[in-house]
């Protein structure tokens, strides 16, 4: 019998903890498919810091370290220095990566640590119940910006890919989305490219994935996808921000 669709081996056979309609699950699957297809499950060490994906150690089948809020790139650095030939990746939310962990991500990129970062940007703090994130949009209503994010008070949303692509150590940076089948395919290709970048020892790679948080955005899953397209994409344009993977 021909198997047309199955659970990637790198994903554990458990029910995950994400809310219905949350795109974290799709992103997990893409990471697992890439790892399966590259045949590197046994050589992969993941890092799941604080955020909705903090329990990702239950959802992936390879070795994994849970890390403190924002510190995943430092933890990844420690692991990678010990095992330079293993695949090391972090899976970080926007609060984690772009607020509390800003220093760690910038310096991991600057050192061109040969790691891969999967950066899940849902423009909100999911796990703690919907507070403003560094990537929340101007005007966006959250628990801590009940009147909408105001530039005078909370400043501007950070564009991580644009910022990090100015760092010399960054080898490959791309922003993708998982709002449609077509974009999911592109997202997978980007994740694959980032892992290949690491395999070929080209240095720091990061894929930012625009993601939804229906629960804290207060939207139905399909409305959430629509909101992502209408509001996030204009501010966070998809595309490749730097690619030195062909350089020696």
């Amino acid at each position: 019998m021909e198997v047309l669709f199955e659970r990637p081996h790198s994903l554990s056979n458990v029910v995950n903890s994400y809310c219905p309609g949350c795109t974290h699950g799709i992103i997990h699957r893409l990471v697992a498919e890439v790892i399966d297809e590259m045949g590197i499950e046994g050589e992969t060490i993941g890092i799941a810091p604080v955020g909705c994906s903090v329990t990702a150690y239950n959802f992936f089948e390879f070795d994994i370290q849970q890390a403190a809020h924002g510190r995943a790139p430092a933890v990844a650095t420690g692991i990678k220095r010990v095992h330079p030939d293993k695949f090391v990746f972090t899976y970080q939310g926007d609060g984690d990566l772009a607020a509390i962990g800003t220093a760690e991500i910038v310096h991991a990129a600057a050192r061109s640590e040969n790691i891969t970062v999967i950066f899940v940007n849902n423009a909100i703090y999911g796990m703690t119940g919907g507070q403003m994130a560094p990537t929340s949009l101007v005007g966006q209503v959250t628990q801590t910006t009940p009147y909408g994010r105001k530039v005078e008070n909370q400043g501007y949303p950070l564009r991580v890919c644009e910022l990090l692509s100015t760092v010399e150590g960054a080898a490959y940076i791309e922003r993708v989305s998982v709002d449609s089948v077509q974009n999911i395919k592109k997202a997978k290709a980007a994740i694959r490219k980032a892992f290949e970048c690491q395999k070929n020892k080209k240095g720091f790679s990061l894929v930012e994935v625009l993601s939804t948080c229906p629960t804290n955005w207060g939207k139905e899953p399909d409305e959430a996808l629509e909101w992502l397209r209408e509001n996030m994409m204009p501010h966070y344009p998809l595309g490749v921000y730097c690619d030195y993977t062909d350089k020696d």
Binding site: Y57, Q65, A74, G78, I79, H83, E104
Partner: protein, 351 residues
């Protein structure tokens, strides 16, 4: 006889760490531990190890977390303000049961404080520092040879108990020079394998997880209880101390680290004059050598805790002497160090 080297404390510590299998060092510059990192930076590449200057102490301790979880012998060093920043990471390391060695070359505090020798991080080292129920093994050497020997021990015990170990010194110990002997470098392949480490499954075993998150209170409490069972074994087996003239002592001075040497000079002067004074020098600050205090408090009438702080270890001395003896405190802080005459005078005053 092994060869003797004349070395600064900070450098001797670094050399001892490398000889005992430390191949990864992550740090951030701060006085007065600078020579330790500089020595590592010079020597690590020559033995195939990694020295990395991190962007902060926060990053450095999390690199230690990653490397320890990946199975390596790893160390970081800092001084008081830097240890405060590392404290979050130390709590996670303790909670994930990871072995590593943390060096604190203590300076005067609080705040940015000063850069001279102090012992005002005793509470931080022995009672927490970071959040949650956890303990570090804390070693407090008083000479450079002891610093070297305790560095070996710290790595060994950290691995044995899967627990972070701290070496507490101060700027005097870090910067003074004394002759030292080193043991031969250990063979890394002789170290027991860490089957729990995240090294990649190679598809040969189930996944390993390094974690400190337990959302079920039952599970978290169970793990805390298990960890306290480990701490109970450590408290039974690992306390270290030195005693001098305590058998007939009516007054026992307690002091650790460099200031214990000053205290001992004072005691020698007083012994010549006929005073019955002795010294207990804790070598492990946690586990605190409780039993000897219990024992000696049955005969000594008075204890005097001499510290480079406003009075921290004295609380453990009070606790362990159980109200049987009078407990006094004499200390200087902010980087001030008492002379032996000062200690002599204080002992005479309360004797």
């Amino acid at each position: 006889m092994a060869k003797k080297f004349l070395m600064k404390g900070n450098e001797a510590l670094a050399e001892a760490a490398m000889r005992n299998g430390c191949r990864f060092f992550f740090g951030y510059p701060i006085t007065p531990q600078t020579e330790l990192a500089a020595y590592m930076a010079k020597k690590m590449p020559k033995i195939g190890g990694t020295f990395l200057q991190a962007e902060s102490e926060v990053a450095a301790i999390n690199m230690v977390y990653g490397a320890a979880g990946a199975g390596a012998r790893v160390m970081t060093s800092s001084s008081s303000p830097g240890i405060s920043l590392k404290s979050e990471g130390i709590s996670y390391i303790a909670a994930a049961d990871l072995p590593c060695v943390i060096v604190n070359i203590v300076r005067g505090g609080p705040g940015l404080g000063g850069i001279q020798a102090a012992q005002s991080d005793y509470f931080q080292a022995t009672k927490g520092g970071g959040h949650g129920d956890y303990r570090l093994l804390v070693y407090a050497p008083a000479s450079i040879q002891e610093l070297v020997d305790l560095t070996a021990k710290a790595f060994e015990k950290a691995d044995e108990y899967r627990n972070p170990a701290m070496i507490m010194g101060d700027g005097m110990l870090g910067q003074m020079m004394e002759p030292v002997e080193f043991s031969e470098p250990i063979d890394l392949s002789s170290l027991p394998e860490k089957e729990w480490a995240t090294t990649g499954t190679e598809m040969k075993r189930k996944k390993n997880i390094i974690n400190s998150l337990y959302l079920s209170p039952e599970e978290l409490e169970y793990l805390n209880i298990k960890r306290y069972e480990k701490y109970a074994v450590i408290k039974e087996k690992e306390p270290m101390y030195e005693e001098v003239y305590t058998e007939d002592a009516e007054l026992i001075v307690t002091a650790y680290g460099t200031v214990s040497r000053v205290a001992l000079s004072a005691i020698n002067i007083l012994r010549e004059e006929g005073y019955k004074v002795g010294l207990i020098r804790p070598i492990t600050l946690w586990p605190f050598p409780e039993k000897i205090f219990d024992e000696r408090s049955k005969t000594a009438k008075k204890f005097l805790s001499v510290e480079l702080s406003m009075g921290q270890m004295v609380e453990d001395v009070e606790r362990c002497t159980k109200g049987r003896s009078e407990v006094h405190f004499f200390g200087r802080s902010g980087g001030m160090v008492p002379g032996k005459e000062d200690i002599v005078e204080e002992i005479k005053r309360i004797y």
